[in-house]
């Protein structure tokens, strides 16, 4: 019986005659003899899918699909809120093209995976440094899942079961923390800053978790929050923005116990939200409670330094239902991008990117405040590179008109701050682009034509 498959394909070398030979070696007459375990009624259902397409055709179709997206690479953008358009040095793309990094598996055979392992160790070293924390793991799925797992880890460490999250955090962080703890006898609740600072913290609180810069771009007082948490016998968990740590105090300098972040700003393109990498750091004494992969330094039988996955007894492939997390495939390659980014930027580069973002964002805020009917950073708090602004026209209308001018506006957060937009500025926004935005806002505010 002939198969419905195709006979040979660029990705499937076997030719019909090779198949015949192999089937003969196996000792069966035809392919169907290999799948008799599949219930006969349901065997060979057929796939109602298009036929295979040539590379030329596939590429043309994908290019056409890519072309209809409004690419933030070729127009000014002021959108942030968890995903940031920062400069990516040329080294990142160059290293990422190495097939040996791209097409290897999780380093289960360390002798044949020193490339992945040593670069992963570089990643852990750089992340721990940026966070000022004692240890970092090899990466999590993304920022919000790192934050959610931090809450769960705080519960394990403290043996308490209420995760309290400061209400200034991104709603996405609440949602993911909720989905991660739903059936774990742990609750996720919101708490106000005043309560925390007043010491009004329940005594079964596992942690006070907070975001700084918070959802609105404002810097929280990490030290005071940590102190308050510790006073209540809880841990402090900080979710941060790694570029901000180029200039602002690091979690490790504020006695934070667990600190997490989205790693995307460190050399990873926006890519519609993924794949990203979650950064996860903690105090040394918690290492046996960390989720995810961890790489350690060791030596071979000849005393040569080498690297290997370590503390694996925390993990699902050994501990199964008692593992600290179910993570298996993680985000090693995105971690590599972060490692190359950090090596390339160095301490001065990271500082400069932070300061450029800060100054440009403040310039935009100042310019917006100079417009009639506009108010930027109304709370007057210290912010990094994102701030809220309200104007004479509603955010969705503003964004629509900005889009007509080829500008990607800020995030519409009218559901959080009435009439509010969240603007984000990075080193990628030239003064020219910022001025274009300000002029456009002025026009739109005046009801000017698009």
């Amino acid at each position: 019986m002939s198969s419905n498959g195709i006979s040979a394909h660029p990705f499937i070398p076997n030719t019909p005659s090779e198949r015949e030979q192999m089937l003969a070696t196996i000792g069966v007459e035809n392919f169907d003899a290999l799948i008799t375990d599949i219930p006969e009624d349901h065997r060979n259902p057929g796939l109602d899918l298009p036929a295979s397409a040539s590379e030329l055709e596939v590429a043309a179709r994908m290019q056409a699909l890519a072309a209809i997206n409004q690419d933030a690479g070729s127009r000014p953008s002021f959108l942030g809120a968890g995903a940031y358009r920062h400069f990516i040095p040329s080294t990142v793309g160059a290293v990422l093209q190495r097939g040996e990094f791209v097409t290897s598996y999780t380093p289960y055979q360390p002798e044949g995976a020193q490339g992945t392992l040593q670069t992963g160790f570089e990643f852990q070293s750089a992340v721990a440094q940026i966070f000022g924390m004692e240890v970092a793991n090899a990466g999590m799925y993304d920022g919000p899942t790192a934050f959610a797992e931090a809450g769960l880890m705080a519960a394990r460490v403290s043996r308490r079961n209420r995760i309290l999250i400061l209400d200034s955090a991104d709603r996405r962080l609440f949602e993911v923390a909720d989905a991660y703890s739903r059936y774990q006898q742990v609750t996720v609740e919101s708490i106000g800053l005043d309560k925390v600072l007043d010491g009004d913290i329940p005594d079964d609180a596992a942690c006070i978790a907070f975001q700084s810069p918070n959802f609105l771009g404002e810097i929280e007082d990490a030290r005071a929050i940590s102190d308050a948490a510790h006073a209540a016998g809880a841990l402090s968990v900080m979710h941060t923005y790694p570029i901000a740590l180029g200039m602002f105090k690091a979690p490790g300098q504020c006695d934070v116990d667990i600190a997490t972040s989205e790693g995307q700003p460190l050399g990873v393109p926006l890519t519609f939200g993924g794949a990203y990498v979650g950064l996860f750091t903690a105090k040394q004494r918690f290492i046996r409670q960390l989720p995810g992969r961890i790489i350690g330094e060791t030596a071979d039988t000849n005393g040569r330094t080498g690297y290997t996955l370590t503390l694996q007894t925390r993990e699902q492939h050994i501990r199964r239902e008692r593992a600290t997390s179910n993570i298996c495939t993680s985000t090693q390659l995105i971690g590599l991008m972060v490692a190359v980014y950090c090596a390339t930027m160095g301490p001065s580069g990271l500082r400069k990117v932070a300061e450029l973002s800060y100054h440009k964002a403040h310039y935009l805020a100042d310019q917006i405040n100079g417009l009639d009917g506009w108010d930027a950073n109304p709370n007057g708090r210290v912010f990094f590179n994102e701030f809220v602004a309200t104007g004479p026209v509603g955010p969705s209308e503003i964004n629509r008109q900005l889009a007509e001018r080829g500008i990607i506006g800020g995030l519409d957060i009218a559901d959080v701050v009435p009439g509010g937009m969240l603007f984000c500025v990075t080193e990628m926004n030239s003064r020219h682009d910022i001025d274009r935005l300000v002029n456009a806002l002025a026009e739109i505010g005046k009801g000017g034509a698009a």
């Binding site: 498959g5 195709i6 990705f11 596939v58 290897s104 890519t271 100042d366």
Partner: protein, 505 residues
């Protein structure tokens, strides 16, 4: 720095400078220049909020050093692009370069996840089509692409099961039945979903022990997690009966679809009674593993369970201002959604790759993937069965689990066979998994390797088997030709060194 001593026979690897970047750091070296501000500089906030300039100890190296360091490190890896990599359960198949190239197109790489739907119709179309294709391939038509890896797909699936049972008022169902051959993520995900794990036995033929299952399936059963084909590389012949048992007990059937690459076009999971499954795009749909991710683990469910899918799914919506097509794609949160399990919409860059891959193969090509994955595995099994025991002596699907018992009896455990393979430039099979097989070596050749490569693997395995008799020390002390010899993993775990430190090792 002194010249290293080089014996006439030292390899380049011995010569290689493996120091960490921080140990190469020279104050003032830097690898990239940044612009000066083009806006007036604002006041900085209070000094006590700020970090001291000297606080941040990152490497200071020039650009050439960055490139040379990472390039040389890359060469220490085994990879698909350089080696046959028959790592069972992991599906190390060729990752077409076209897929990577498409994912890096500006129109995909530079779009922000919070842009307005109308600005990203191309991206949403990719996702919508991929949902459709995955639904068709599994027979489970309702799909969310949100999960970021297989394990997250499992977790999402289990949340869906719990939510669905809750919706029928059965939130007390808190048991996950899991075969003893299951991958570690299954019980770990079950535990995260608050389920008690009850292990189901595997019989002597590698099948689920139906009687054991029948006994354990009851009104506490939330889900049965079936890996299909199993981690023994076997299709469960009693699948219809098994699923019926679970359904009769009021539970749901979850299929771990990590091995879907064996089934494409041969059978649809939805047709044989599965309610929920995930698929690892980084396995079946050939997106690169990246040394351990990123992956993507979409979750597929029956139409009945669609409303519980995680946020978001992409829907096609009629829209008056949507241009000539008359519809527009948008992100949608199902009404009873289990919610957001990660920050945005899934591993989009991986989704682009998988969709590109599926187009290159089409329906017929996907069937060929599975056919040839199965043929290649059985070919290896047939050629090695006289030397190596089989975990179960029967036709396998996409992978074959060998047992190194006979070799262990001759003094060389499976671990050493695995390490010795590395010397031959072949990556080791998965070792000691599934846990129920002694001295397991789980071999998955995949359909992208040629017969000639399989023949070489077979002859190398035979050669190692010969070496075990003739020169066992060679095998016991392998690897010999890699950048490092056997690493001391015990010390690494006992005294963990997890980052560069100034006082070095």
């Amino acid at each position: 720095m002194n010249a290293p001593s080089v014996s006439p026979n030292s390899s380049i690897a011995d010569m290689q400078d493996r120091r960490l970047l921080m140990d190469r750091s020279v104050p003032g070296h830097h690898a990239v220049a940044l612009p000066e501000p083009d806006v007036p500089v604002s006041d900085l906030p209070d000094a006590d909020l700020l970090r001291d300039v000297g606080d941040l100890q990152l490497p200071e190296v020039d650009q050439l050093e960055v490139i040379r360091y990472f390039t040389l490190l890359s060469r220490l890896n085994f990879s698909i692009d350089t080696n046959f990599y028959p790592l069972g359960s992991c599906t190390m198949k060729y990752n077409p370069k076209l897929n990577d190239q498409m994912a890096s197109l500006g129109g995909f790489a530079n779009i922000h996840p919070l842009q307005d739907d109308v600005a990203v119709q191309g991206a949403l179309e990719v996702m919508h089509e991929l949902q459709k294709w995955l639904g068709e391939a599994t027979g489970l038509p309702a799909v969310s692409l949100a999960p970021l890896a297989g394990a997250q797909g499992e977790y999402a699936g289990l949340l869906i099961a719990r939510a669905a049972l809750e919706a029928r008022g059965e939130s007390h169902r808190n048991v996950a039945l899991i075969p003893d051959s299951a991958h570690g993520t299954n019980p770990a995900s079950a535990a995260m979903a608050g389920l008690d794990v009850v292990v189901v036995k595997t019989d002597e033929f590698g099948n689920v022990d139906v009687e054991d299952l029948r006994e354990k399936a009851d009104d506490k059963t939330c889900v049965f997690m079936l890996t299909i084909p199993s981690t023994l590389g076997l299709f469960e012949p009693n699948i219809i009966e098994i699923n019926q048992i679970i359904h009769d007990a009021g539970g749901l059937v979850y299929a771990d679809g990590a091995n879907l690459n064996a089934l494409l076009g041969l059978v649809k999971l939805g047709d044989v009674g599965v309610d929920i499954c995930h698929s690892n795009l980084h396995k079946t749909f050939s997106t690169p593993h990246g040394g351990g991710g990123p992956g993507a683990g979409p979750v597929m469910v029956t139409r009945r369970l669609a409303s519980f899918l995680p946020d978001p799914v992409v829907v096609q919506a009629r829209s008056s201002d949507a241009g000539p097509r008359g519809y527009r794609y948008r992100l949608y949160r199902p009404i009873e959604s289990i919610g957001k399990i990660n920050g945005f919409h899934g591993s989009f860059s991986i989704l682009v790759r998988a969709y590109t891959y599926m187009q290159s193969l089409g329906g017929d090509g996907l069937r060929s993937v599975s056919e040839n994955a199965v043929i290649n595995a059985n070919y290896i099994q047939a050629q090695l069965r006289d030397r190596f025991d089989l975990a179960v002596d029967r036709i396998c699907m996409h992978e074959t689990v060998l047992s190194g018992k006979r070799q262990a009896d001759r003094g060389v455990p499976a671990l050493n066979i695995a390490k010795r393979l590395l010397d031959y430039g072949i990556h080791a099979p998965t070792m000691y998994f599934p846990l129920i097989v002694p001295e397991a070596l789980m071999v998955e050749p995949t359909e992208t390797e040629s017969k000639e490569t399989l023949d070489r693997f077979i002859s190398v395995m035979q050669a190692i088997d010969d070496e075990i008799s003739s020169e066992p020390e060679t095998v016991l002390n392998a690897p010999h030709s890699l950048p490092v010899s056997r690493l001391d993993e015990a010390t690494a775990a006992r005294r963990p060194v997890l980052r560069w430190q100034p006082d070095g090792d």
